[in-house]
Amino acid sequence: MITKRILVVDDEPGVTRNLKLNLESGGGYDVFAENHATNALTAARIFRPDLILLDVMMPGFDGGDVAARLRSDPLLRDTPIIFLTALVSNEETDGHEMLSGAETFLAKPVDIGELKKTVEDHIRR
């Protein structure tokens, strides 16, 4: 089984730690957690993830800014990004792709089952 790499960018260490634990516990994923948005691009260049879980609201440099930088990098522009946001309700996201750029948003607190399913769907694409 090929292990897929996931980069998690969220300013809450509790969130990144728990995401890493949950995703890695089932096997199949290698998770790198980054709590500073400004380091996200460097982390992505080094780690070369298959997918990025990106928090929207972070101090200073938000998820949108990070995504824009990732998209402008030739090596990372095709890496799927799943945004995690506290500012929408589950009904608003409901697994649908929202906003321009066909990004996927998941409402916090995410259900781990739904998160794993969405991650699998995106990596398979």
């Binding site: 809450e12 728990n18 949950n22 516990s25 506290a86 009904e91 607190p109 995410v110 259900d111």
Partner: protein
């Protein structure tokens, strides 16, 4: 005028004949005052003077014809002159009286006219005042409405900021808790109590998260996506969404639908949310079972002001405990709840009002005479979206 003059001169001639035939002279001369007075009163000073001079002449003529003998030849002339002067004085007095009377009448007429004009002016001013009063009342009502909207908008803005802050600050720790619980849930639990404990934690996270989602929904209403809908189909769908709760609490639903109602331009999902919130409230108000009656009919009575367009009324009645009258308005305010802690977010009816109002409709809560509460929704047939 010549007719009057002719008649009066005839009268003078008649008196002259009486004077001549009776020979009573001065005693009869008073009768000349009749045509003189009549002439003066009816035709004025000039006519009076004419009749007076003619009368004096006739008197002198009658005197000559009777051939009276006077001690002095100048005496008849003197008598005639005295009589003529007396007659002219009477004419002058009567004419003055007549003119004064005419003046008085004119003054009265002028004053009456002025008064009438004043009254008309007063009525016009009064009507203008009433009109202005109406305008002021209308402006006042408009001002109150605007003020209310401003307060609501300010509230919404504050709630929006608060919601965003709360959502960010609470959902992140909730996510940590939820993921932690998920991690333990997927491991072998040491005993059933531990598994239950973790489930309880998940449920607590779900409830807290739900409150914040409702708050977010309330604080940031999405634009309406209207389609033409049969209101009964929307109601039926909403009832289907709460069917489980209805059955669990033994609540019967009675439908009194006017199937001839026109379709309405609605955001179906949002209006379903309205009915779900209303039905859930009604179910919660009837802990030991009861009846929900949903009634629809066309609005025939016009709202105050008389300019409300045609509409559709939907009444949702329950057989619960009703509402304390002083709370009837407050229940639509955000975070007002009469439910025990943990059973309501205090946003259910606030969301109902928000959604109904952006559809251009209105909502009211009242107590029914038979007991229980009634929520009355009104939607205009010609729907207009409110800002």
């Amino acid at each position: 005028m010549p007719v009057i003059a002719g008649l009066l001169l005839g009268l003078v001639a008649a008196v002259g004949w009486i004077d001549y035939s009776t020979g009573l002279e001065l005693s009869v001369s008073l009768l000349y005052l009749i045509p003189i007075a009549l002439g003066t009163w009816v035709a004025g000073r000039s006519m009076g003077n004419l009749i007076a001079i003619v009368s004096a002449g006739v008197w002198l003529g009658a005197d000559f014809l009777e051939r009276h003998s006077y001690g002095h030849c100048f005496l008849p002339v003197w008598n005639t002159l005295t009589l003529a002067i007396s007659f002219l004085v009477v004419v002058a007095l009567l004419a003055s009286l007549r003119e004064a009377n005419e003046g008085l009448e004119q003054t009265v007429a002028r004053r009456t006219k002025a008064l009438q004009a004043e009254n008309a002016e007063r009525r016009r001013t009064e009507s203008e005042l009433l009109h202005t009063l109406d305008d002021v009342r209308q402006t006042h009502a408009e001002l109150k409405r605007t003020q209310f909207q401003l307060i609501e908008a300010a509230k919404t803005e504050s709630v929006g900021r608060l919601a965003a802050g709360v959502a960010h600050e609470v959902k992140n720790p909730l996510m940590t808790l939820s993921l932690g619980a998920d991690y333990f849930l997927h491991r072998e639990a040491e005993n059933p109590d531990e598994a239950q404990l973790i489930q309880d934690m998940k449920e607590a996270v779900r409830r807290a998260s739900n409150v914040i989602n409702v708050l977010l929904d309330y604080a940031r209403p999405r634009p309406l996506q209207r389609t033409t809908e049969d209101i009964h189909s929307v109601i039926e769908n909403s009832l289907a969404l709460v069917r489980h709760r209805l059955n669990r609490q033994h609540v019967i639903v009675v439908r009194q639908f006017d199937m001839t109602l026109p379709p309405l331009l609605l955001d179906r999902t949002r209006i379903e949310q309205v009915f779900v919130n209303l039905f859930v409230n009604a179910i919660q108000a009837m802990a030991s079972g009861g009846t929900i009656t949903v009634r629809t009919f066309a609005s025939t009575q016009r709202a105050s002001g008389g300019d409300s367009p045609a509409g559709v009324i939907i009444e949702v009645d329950d057989t619960g405990g009703g509402i304390i009258p002083e709370n009837a308005d407050k229940v639509f305010e955000p975070f007002f709840t009469t439910k025990p802690a943990g059973e309501g977010t205090g946003l259910g009816l606030a969301i109902v009002r928000r959604i109904v109002e952006i559809h251009g409709g209105s909502v009211r809560l009242s107590n029914r005479k038979e007991g229980g509460a009634r929520v009355t929704l009104r939607f205009n047939t010609e729907a207009k979206e409110q800002p």
